[in-house]
């Protein structure tokens, strides 16, 4: 963040929105992976299997969201009729 000079209002807003989205997906992620991976409450310690499960769960979720957003963006781009030259370039890059 250093050396960026005075940040504009829009910058702050979009950064904080991004940050908020990141944090809430982090919370959602914990909830989901905890529900799916942690089933043994006879011990307070997280077992190796639970740890691996939770971290894999998280990584898989990240990859899934990435892929979904990528495919979604592609389909949005391809379905845009008013395709300017930049969009055409992107189209050929996708194919």
């Amino acid at each position: 963040m250093a050396g960026l000079g005075p940040t504009t209002h829009i910058d702050v807003e979009s950064t904080s929105r991004q940050f908020r989205e990141f944090l809430s997906s982090y919370n959602k992620l914990t909830e989901m992976c905890f529900m799916d991976c942690i089933n043994d409450f006879t011990s307070r310690k997280i077992s190796n299997a639970e740890d691996t499960c939770a971290l894999n769960c998280m990584e898989k979720y990240m990859k899934m969201t990435q892929r979904i957003s990528q495919r979604f963006q592609e389909s949005q781009l391809l379905s845009t009729d008013a395709a300017g030259p930049t969009v055409q370039n992107l189209k050929s890059a996708v194919q």
Partner: protein, 94 residues
């Protein structure tokens, strides 16, 4: 982060509080589902439920922490890759 002014700091603090509340709600939900049988013959938590809740809370916080650490590591790696690609593109443009 050194250039954040007072209003921005407040924004970050508010956000942090909001996310803690969200995390707390999700944790309560999870631990209720995991530990409390939906039978209400007795108004007290039985011993098993009480112990389960203690462990559930401890484990939830620890999992939250571990996932957070890995998430940070991954996003830092991503950022580094993006920077590398940008540097390469700038080199090519010269």
């Amino acid at each position: 982060m050194a250039e954040l002014n007072e209003a921005q700091l407040k924004l970050v603090a508010d956000l942090e509080l909001e996310m803690m509340a969200d995390m707390y709600n999700r944790m309560s939900n999870c631990c209720q589902k995991k530990c409390i049988a939906p039978k209400y013959k007795d108004p007290d938590l039985n011993k098993g439920e009480a112990v389960c809740i203690d462990r559930c809370v401890a484990k939830y916080m620890e999992i939250h922490d571990r996932i957070g650490k890995k998430l940070t590591a991954m996003s830092q790696q991503d950022e580094a890759t993006v920077k590398k690609i940008q540097a390469q593109m700038q080199q090519q443009q010269k």
